[in-house]
């Protein structure tokens, strides 16, 4: 298939790592398919934003970070949480609204948090978390800690004022933030050409003096390579970096979306570039995985997703008497 040499031919991805990466992408996909099923069964309510099609981004980037690096994501963050190692059961329970959820059920699908994993949401005001990411990096700089804050957002956020304020502040203060723009071409239902005057989003970094790159977000190894280079640059310089990943969301924006704004043919065309298929092809061609091993991964994932559902089903409702907990810190009262 691939005639021209590219990064995927040279990147040292060993058998063990490649299996882990494939497992994570497939886990996200299967976990979300199950979440959608549970949504139609009304086990999950509210908003549910699926990441299907974009799995290579969270997988490639979060695997390139260290456990002590901080992560802020959007309301489409199940994949990021899973790759970060937050238990699938705790995520599913959160979506059920059970107190065993990773945010004790108070947040739901859009607000997954895990302070121990340094996973800071689950932020559902578009671009609202970008200034916070800058502040977290500023705190690290002030305290002399050598860690990075990684902030995921969509291309819709890049039209918000907070994006521009955050980029300027990060560059001005020289703080180690990895800004990751997941450009899935649609801000809810409005396409890139209707939301941005300049479609090469990575160019926006120039005005702030921030280094940037653009990668094909459907190819995991490209994402991995781009992320590693970006992170190396940040660790070396202590300065921010802007990484644009071009991708596509295969599913609707949320479960309420009738997808009137795009043609089915367009979606089908992009599905040919499914990041999981592309990576599996690569592994097959390079004899890094056997069909038997894939089947074993699938079985493992099926079991893990079922375990997550069972955990959520067995979860408990927080007593109504606790309604006003977590408004103020208990130590303050």
């Amino acid at each position: 298939m691939k005639k021209q040499p590219n990064i995927e031919d040279t990147l040292p991805v060993d058998r063990k790592l490649s299996h882990k990466l494939l497992y994570q992408m497939m886990l996200i996909r299967r976990f979300e398919e199950k979440a959608a099923e549970m949504y139609t069964k009304e086990k999950i309510r509210g908003f549910l934003h699926l990441y299907i099609g974009q799995e290579a981004l969270a997988t490639g980037i979060i695997n390139s970070l260290s456990p002590e690096d901080g992560i802020l994501a959007t309301y489409r963050e199940h994949g990021h949480a899973l790759v970060r190692g937050i238990d699938a059961g705790a995520i599913m329970a959160e979506m059920y609204g059970k107190q065993e959820g990773c945010s004790r059920g108070r947040g739901g699908s859009m607000h997954l948090f895990d302070a121990k994993a340094r996973f800071y949401g689950g932020n559902a005001i578009v671009a609202g978390h970008l200034p916070m990411a800058v502040g977290m990096a500023l705190a690290d700089k002030k305290m002399g800690r050598k860690r990075i804050t990684c902030c995921f957002f969509g291309e819709g956020a890049a039209a918000e004022g907070e994006f521009h304020e955050a980029m300027n502040l990060a560059a001005l203060w020289r703080v180690p933030v990895l800004f990751v723009c997941e450009n899935n071409l649609y801000a809810m239902g409005t396409s890139l050409e209707h939301t941005h005057a300049v479609h090469n989003l990575e160019k926006k970094a120039i005005g702030y003096g921030i280094k940037s790159c653009m990668v094909d977000g459907m190819r995991l190894l490209k994402v991995l390579d781009g992320a590693q280079q970006a992170i190396d640059t940040i660790r070396e310089s202590g300065e921010p970096f802007f990484m644009v990943c071009n991708t596509y969301r295969f599913r609707a924006h949320s479960m309420f979306d009738a997808e009137l704004y795009r043609e089915k043919e367009e979606v089908e065309e992009w599905k040919k570039r499914d990041p999981i298929l592309i990576f599996r092809e690569y592994l097959n061609e390079n004899k890094l995985i056997s069909e038997k091993e894939v089947t074993k991964l699938e079985q493992r994932i099926e079991a893990e997703v079922q375990k997550a559902v069972d955990f959520a089903e067995a979860g408990t409702w927080e007593p109504v008497e606790y309604l006003t907990k977590y408004v103020y810190s208990e130590s303050a009262n």
């Binding site: 901080g70 107190q99 959820g101 990773c102 945010s103 004790r104 059920g105 108070r106 947040g107 607000h111 948090f113 895990d114 302070a115 800071y120 949401g121 689950g122 932020n123 005001i125 609202g128 978390h129 970008l130 200034p131 916070m132 990411a133 800058v134 502040g135 977290m136 990096a137 500023l138 705190a139 690290d140 002030k142 305290m143 804050t149 004022g161 907070e162 304020e165 955050a166 300027n168 502040l169 001005l172 907990k325 977590y326 408004v327 103020y328 810190s329 208990e330 130590s331 303050a332």
Partner: protein, 331 residues
């Protein structure tokens, strides 16, 4: 007054000393805001700070209210104790998303995992002929939001002492200061160590009526109470201080004793702090009342520029005196 027991200082100096203490007490504390460094603060409150603490702790920021307020919230998550100065409340709506959607919600959304120990200071209020966009009294907007603590420094003592407990608080605190009072001199106890930021304070005791107020209303109410005393009316002045969560117990105790109440504030009357206080009095001590609760608030107009119209828009001491006399004579 006995010089050994009190210190005389301006409201500005009180704010300044409060911040100096906080910065000297804890290396995690830093001040960020527009013109706080080289300029010395828009109101000269942080004059000299840059020299003493350096640019890492006294950070001049660009005109990006949302950006730097959000960065303050992020820095608090990262273990620092930021003091974010929004030059005046008038610009705070640019940062409102950060305050209402992030600072106020993170503890709750994370099921208690994340606390946000940030202090956001804002200069607030009217009285300097700054017209419609620079004269806001928006305490009620912030006091509406669960997850925030909202405090108001209506006296020199609070201007001097409120910041430290606000910094020590694990939750986000909005601290309102009053531009019109900056040059005003006042006295505070020389040996004062701290103030509480959970309770209202009775600033003057009385038995005939409770004048309930906060911020720039406190000294006006005390002036009115002194004048009323000469007319034989003992007015009690309650300084709310904490606008969220409101100290209902102190309000109820005062009104249950005096049986009459007026509420005074600069903010527009509709959906205000006085609306809430009035409702709580009705809920908690309706049968103790000898007269209907009255309110003296900002007139509902964008602030006009001319001095006589600005004055007419705000509650004044003479109006407080007149209204109290009317209520007391009615009962």
């Amino acid at each position: 007054m006995n010089d050994k027991q009190t210190i005389k200082l301006t409201y500005r100096e009180a704010l300044k000393q409060g911040m100096l203490d906080a910065l000297r007490n804890d290396d995690r504390v830093f001040l960020m805001g527009e013109d706080v460094g080289s300029y010395g603060g828009a109101f000269a409150v942080s004059k000299g700070f840059l020299k003493e603490f350096g640019p890492d702790r006294i950070m001049d920021v660009p005109l990006s209210e949302s950006g730097f307020t959000g960065a303050g919230i992020g820095a608090a998550l990262g273990g620092m104790r930021p003091i974010v100065e929004i030059m005046t409340v008038n610009f705070s709506l640019l940062a409102f998303d950060q305050i209402a959607n992030n600072a106020a919600t993170l503890l709750h959304m994370s099921g208690g995992q994340l606390s946000v120990p940030v202090v956001i200071r804002m200069s607030c209020g009217t009285g300097r002929q700054l017209a419609a966009q620079h004269s806001h009294s928006w305490e009620p907007l912030f006091a509406h939001i669960p997850g925030l603590k909202v405090i108001s420094a209506g006296t020199h003592e609070d201007a001097r002492m409120m910041l430290q407990p606000a910094i020590d608080d694990p939750d986000p605190v909005i601290l309102f200061e009053y531009t019109a009072m900056l040059n005003m001199e006042g006295e505070i106890p020389a040996d004062i160590q701290s103030v509480d930021i959970s309770k209202a304070r009775v600033r003057r005791e009385g038995s005939d009526i409770s004048i309930i107020t906060y911020g720039s209303g406190v000294y006006k109410a005390l002036g009115a109470a002194a004048e009323l005393a000469e007319a034989g009316i003992a007015a009690e002045v309650v300084d709310l201080r904490v606008l969220r969560p409101l100290d209902t117990a102190t309000i109820v105790a005062s009104v249950s004793k005096t049986h009459r109440a007026i509420i005074v504030e600069d903010a527009w009357q509709s959906v205000s702090i006085s609306s809430e206080v009035s409702a709580r009095i009705m809920e908690k001590c309706f049968y103790d009342l000898d007269a209907p609760v009255e309110r003296l608030c900002g007139i509902e107009v964008p602030m006009p520029y001319p001095k006589h119209l600005e004055e007419a828009s705000l509650p004044q001491k003479d109006q407080i005196v007149a209204l109290v006399k009317k209520i007391v004579n009615y009962g």
